[in-house]
C-alpha cells in the first residue's frame, strides 16, 4: 500500500512540475552551408548573413516596415552631397556580457581592422575616402575617411554619396571590441572564439557543420521586440533535406529555391511567404572576348543583341533552369531599382528569331564579315551537370535560331573563377548577386573602362558616364532615376546575357507571423510568432 501511495505521489509531483516548465519558443530553420566564420570581416555566406542579422546590431537597422531606424546610432547628420555622415552613438549600450560598453571607438576599430592590409579580410571595401590608398600603402590610416570625434560621435567620409541602406552592413558598421577581438587572434569568429554580440541574439553554441544555436541576448537594448527564446539553425541542409524536415515537423521556416520543392510544401499545407531574388543568372559576356578572333564579334553591340534575343528564356526556365524566373531586364523583382522602374521590359522572354537574325546581319555588315568567319564561341561553366545541361540548351538554341556554333568548356569552380577574373572567356555561365539599392557597385562596376580588372573587357565611354552619374547621385531617388538610364543602356546593348532571376521563397507553417525580409533578402525572425 505504501508503495502504491509513493507511486501516486511521484506521478502527482511530476504532473505538477510539467506546467511549471514554460514551453520554450524555438524557431527552427535550416541553411545549405556552415557559416565558415562569424568574423564580420570574413563572412559572406547566406548562413552567416542570417546569423549576423540577429547578433550584430549596426548603426542603422531596417524594421519590418522597411524603414531604416537607429540601431547602435542615436541620431545622424549627413552633408548635402551625402558623402559625409556623422553618427551619435547611444550611450549605455553594452555587448552581450552586459558590462563592456559600446563606444564610437569600437566602430572606428571595426573599419581599421577591416582595412588592415597586414591581415587581409575578404570583405574589405574601399568606399571610404583614401581606403584603397591606405590598403595599398600610399597613405596612413589617419587619412582614411573615418574620424573619431569623441567617445560617442564618429564621422565617415565616402568617395561617393551614400544612403541609409549602406549603414546596415555588419562588416563596416557593427561595433567590435578591440581587446576581445585581439585576444581571439587567429581564431576570432570561429566556433572556438565567437564574436561578442550586440544584437537581439547571441550565439550559444556552434557545432561545426551541424548546427548553430542563438539565444536571446540579455543585454540587448530593445528586448520587447525579441519573441523567440532561441533560434536553432541546422547546417548543410540541401533542398530535399529541408523539404523532408519541414514535412516531418522539424523546421518552422524555410528558404526554398526549387519550384518543385515549393510545390510539395504548399501542397502539404505550408504557407508561401514573401519571395526575393538573390542572383542574376545567365551568361556573363566578355566584351573583348577570350581571343582577338572572338572579341572582334563580341565587342559588336548588334552581335551581342543577336545572341540576347535569340534565346528562349521561358523554355530554359521550364527545362534546364529550374528555380529561375525568366528575366526581361537586369534588375530583379524585390530590388529597389526594379520597384522604382517597374514597367521596364528590355526584351521578350521568348526567342525572337527574326529580330535576332536582323541584328546578326547588321553586325556582319558593320564588321565586314561573313557568317562563316564567326569563330566557335566558347561557353565556359562549372563542371556540374546542371550547368552543362543549361549550356547544352543554350548551344542548341543558338545553333537553331542563329546558326552560331559554340563549344561548351566545363571546368572546376576555382578554374572558372580564375579564368573569369583574368578575362579568359567568351561567355561564362554564372550568377551575380543582386544588391541594394541596385547593381552598380556589386556588378556593373566591372563594366567600367577603368575598373582595373580584365573581368568584363569593356571600354565604353557612354556606359562610364551613365555609371558615374548613378554613383554620384546625391539622393536615393536621384540615384534610382540615374540607374534606370544605366540599366537601359546596359540591357539595350546586351553587355551581358541575363537569362533568369534566382528566386527564393519563404515557407512557413500556417499561422506563423512576425518575420520579414530585409534589403538583399536577409530574413529577420526576431519577432517570429508560431
Amino acid at each position: 500500500m505504501k508503495k502504491l501511495i509513493s507511486l501516486v505521489l511521484c506521478f502527482a509531483l511530476c504532473a505538477a512540475l510539467v506546467p511549471a516548465v514554460a514551453e520554450e519558443n524555438v524557431v527552427r530553420i535550416a541553411y545549405g552551408y556552415d557559416p565558415n566564420t562569424l568574423d564580420y570581416g570574413m563572412s559572406n555566406l547566406d548562413t552567416a548573413n542570417f546569423i549576423l542579422t540577429h547578433i550584430a546590431e549596426t548603426l542603422l537597422v531596417q524594421d519590418a516596415s522597411g524603414a531604416y531606424v537607429p540601431g547602435v546610432a542615436e541620431s545622424y547628420e549627413k552633408s548635402d552631397d551625402a558623402r559625409v555622415w556623422t553618427f551619435k552613438i547611444k550611450q549605455g549600450l553594452t555587448y552581450q556580457d552586459g558590462e563592456t560598453p559600446i563606444t564610437a571607438e569600437d566602430l572606428y576599430y571595426a573599419v581599421q581592422r577591416l582595412l588592415n592590409p597586414e591581415d587581409p579580410k575578404d570583405n574589405a571595401t574601399f568606399g571610404l575616402v583614401n581606403a584603397e590608398e591606405y590598403y595599398n600603402g600610399q597613405v596612413p590610416f589617419e587619412e582614411v575617411g573615418i574620424k573619431l570625434i569623441d567617445d560617442y560621435t564618429i564621422e565617415y567620409t565616402f568617395v561617393n554619396p551614400t544612403y541609409e541602406s549602406n549603414f546596415t552592413s555588419a562588416c563596416l558598421f557593427a561595433p567590435l571590441e578591440q581587446a576581445y577581438v585581439e585576444a581571439g587572434g587567429e581564431i576570432y569568429g570561429s566556433s572556438s572564439y565567437l564574436p561578442l554580440a550586440n544584437g537581439p541574439y547571441m550565439v550559444e553554441e556552434w557545432l561545426d557543420d551541424a548546427s548553430v544555436t542563438l539565444v536571446k541576448n540579455p543585454a540587448y537594448q530593445n528586448p520587447d521586440i525579441v519573441k523567440a527564446d532561441s533560434i536553432q539553425i541546422t547546417l548543410n541542409a540541401t533542398g530535399d533535406v529541408i523539404v523532408d524536415m519541414m514535412l516531418a515537423g522539424e523546421l518552422d521556416i524555410a528558404d526554398v529555391l526549387n519550384p518543385l520543392q515549393l510545390q510539395t510544401l504548399t501542397d502539404a499545407g505550408f504557407v508561401l511567404g514573401p519571395s526575393h531574388s538573390s542572383t542574376y543568372q545567365g551568361m556573363n559576356l566578355r566584351g573583348g572576348g577570350k581571343s582577338e578572333e572572338s572579341g572582334r564579334f563580341l565587342s559588336n553591340a548588334n552581335f551581342r543583341k543577336a545572341i540576347n534575343v535569340a534565346l528562349d528564356r521561358e523554355a530554359l526556365a521550364a527545362s534546364v533552369m529550374s528555380g529561375y524566373t525568366p528575366a526581361y531586364r537586369l534588375s530583379a523583382p524585390g530590388e529597389p531599382a526594379y520597384t522604382a522602374n517597374p514597367d521596364y521590359r528590355a526584351w521578350d522572354t521568348t526567342a525572337n528569331v527574326e529580330l535576332a537574325n536582323q541584328y546578326l546581319n547588321a553586325a556582319l555588315e558593320e564588321l565586314g564579315a561573313t557568317k562563316e568567319e564567326i569563330p566557335a564561341i566558347e561557353l565556359m561553366c562549372y563542371e556540374s551537370q546542371g550547368a552543362i545541361d543549361a549550356l547544352a540548351a543554350v548551344q542548341d538554341q543558338l545553333r537553331v535560331n542563329l546558326g552560331l556554333e559554340t563549344v561548351i568548356a566545363p571546368c572546376t569552380i576555382q578554374v572558372m573563377i580564375s579564368n573569369a577574373m583574368s578575362g579568359n572567356y567568351d561567355l561564362w555561365w554564372g550568377g551575380n548577386e543582386a544588391s541594394v539599392p541596385d547593381a552598380c557597385e556589386s556588378y556593373l562596376d566591372g563594366f567600367r573602362s577603368n575598373s582595373g580588372s580584365p573581368l568584363r573587357g569593356y571600354a565604353d565611354a557612354e556606359f562610364d558616364a551613365l555609371y558615374n552619374a548613378a554613383v554620384t547621385s546625391a539622393t536615393l531617388d536621384e540615384r534610382l532615376a540615374n540607374f534606370a538610364k544605366l540599366e537601359e543602356y546596359f540591357c539595350e546593348n546586351a553587355m551581358s546575357i541575363i537569362l533568369g532571376w534566382d528566386m527564393h521563397y519563404i515557407v512557413t507553417a500556417e499561422g506563423t507571423t512576425g518575420y520579414y525580409l530585409m534589403d538583399g533578402g536577409r530574413l529577420n525572425v526576431t519577432g517570429l510568432n508560431k
Binding site: T37, T234, S418, E433
Partner: protein, 310 residues
C-alpha cells in the same frame, strides 16, 4: 616479431613521406586560385596570397610545409577562417569513426552470418535468397536508399529523426545506408571463402574424428575462412571510418567525408594535405594491424614471419 613490426613502421613512415610529397606537388598542379572570388577585391586577394605564402615558389612552400609537418603543424584552413586543419580533423573524425564503426560492426556481423548460411545451404533457396539481398545491397546506391529511408521512416512513419547527429536514433538510418554495401560484400566474400575451406582435407579429417557439424563449422570452417575476410577489413575499416561524402551530406552528419570533396573543390591546400596525410597514416596503421592479426589467425604466416625474421 619486434623486428618485423619495426621494419613495417619504417616502411610506413617512408610511405607517408612519399605520399605527402607527391600530394603536395600534384595539388599544386591543379589549376585555379584558392582566393579567386568575384566578391573580394583583387587587391585583397593579392594580400591574401602573400599572407598565406602562396606567392612564394612552390619549392619554398614545400620545404616550409614539411618543416611545419615535422612539428605536427598541419596549418590553417584557407576557407574555414580561424580553424586549424588539426582542429577540423579532431572534431570531424570521431563522428565519422563512430558512424563507420557502428555500421561496420553490424554489417560485418550480418555479412558473416549470411555468408555462413549461404555456404551451408549452397545452391538451395536460403543461399539464393540471401545472395539476392546481398546483390540488392550493392545494386542500391546510397543516394537512392538514403532519401527513401528518410522519407518513410522520418517523414511518413515519424519513427526516426529525418537528419542529424548526436543521439542513437539519429545514427540508425545512416548506419544502415552506409553498411548495406558492406553486408553484401562480406556475404559474398564469406560464402566464397567458406566454400573453399569446406573442401579442404583437414575438414574431412575433423569430421572423421567424429566432431559434430556445429563444431566443424565453428572451430574449423569459420575460423579458417576468416583469414581473407580480415585481410580486407584493414583498408575497409580505414575507408569507412574516414566518412562518406554522400551519406554524411544526406543525413547532415558533421563528419570528415564532406571535407575530402570540399577541400579539393575549394583548393584549400592545407586541408587537402592534412586529410591526405591523416588518411594515409591511418590506412598504413590499419594495414600494419591487419598484418599482425593475420599472423595470429594463421600459424603458417606466424611461422614464415619467424623464419623471415631470422
Amino acid at each position: 616479431m619486434g623486428k618485423y613490426v619495426l621494419n613495417k613502421v619504417l616502411i610506413a613512415i617512408a610511405t607517408i613521406f612519399v605520399l605527402a610529397t607527391a600530394t603536395f606537388f600534384l595539388m599544386k598542379l591543379i589549376p585555379g586560385d584558392p582566393f579567386a572570388s568575384l566578391k573580394t577585391k583583387a587587391a585583397v586577394q593579392e594580400k591574401q596570397r602573400e599572407y598565406y605564402g602562396l606567392d612564394q615558389p612552390v619549392t619554398v612552400q614545400y620545404f616550409r610545409y614539411m618543416g611545419n609537418l615535422l612539428r605536427g603543424d598541419l596549418g590553417w584552413s584557407l576557407k574555414k577562417a580561424g580553424r586549424s586543419v588539426v582542429d577540423i580533423i579532431r572534431e570531424a573524425f570521431p563522428v565519422s569513426a563512430v558512424l563507420g564503426l557502428t555500421s561496420l560492426f553490424f554489417s560485418v556481423l550480418i555479412g558473416l552470418l549470411f555468408g555462413i548460411l549461404c555456404a551451408q545451404f549452397r545452391n538451395r533457396w536460403p543461399d539464393y535468397l540471401l545472395m539476392l539481398v546481398a546483390v540488392l545491397g550493392i545494386a542500391l546506391p546510397s543516394m537512392v536508399l538514403g532519401p527513401l529511408m528518410r522519407y518513410f521512416f522520418g517523414v511518413q512513419l515519424k519513427w526516426l529523426p529525418v537528419v542529424g547527429w548526436g543521439t542513437v536514433d539519429k545514427m540508425i538510418m545512416p548506419a544502415i545506408v552506409l553498411g548495406l554495401g558492406t553486408v553484401a560484400g562480406e556475404t559474398r566474400a564469406m560464402r566464397a571463402s567458406m566454400l573453399g575451406v569446406m573442401t579442404q582435407d583437414y575438414i574431412t579429417t575433423a569430421r572423421a574424428k567424429g566432431l559434430n557439424s556445429a563444431q566443424v563449422i565453428l572451430r574449423h570452417e569459420v575460423k579458417n575462412s576468416l583469414v581473407p575476410i580480415v585481410t580486407g577489413l584493414g583498408p575497409g575499416i580505414a575507408g569507412i571510418m574516414m566518412g562518406s561524402f554522400v551519406v554524411e551530406s544526406m543525413f547532415l552528419i558533421p563528419g570528415l567525408g564532406r571535407y575530402f570533396v570540399d577541400s579539393i573543390t575549394n583548393l584549400d591546400y592545407p586541408l587537402i594535405m592534412g586529410l591526405t596525410i591523416f588518411y594515409g597514416a591511418f590506412l598504413v596503421t590499419m594495414n600494419l594491424l591487419v598484418d599482425v592479426v593475420y599472423g595470429l589467425l594463421d600459424p603458417r604466416i606466424r611461422e614464415s614471419g619467424k623464419k623471415g625474421g631470422k
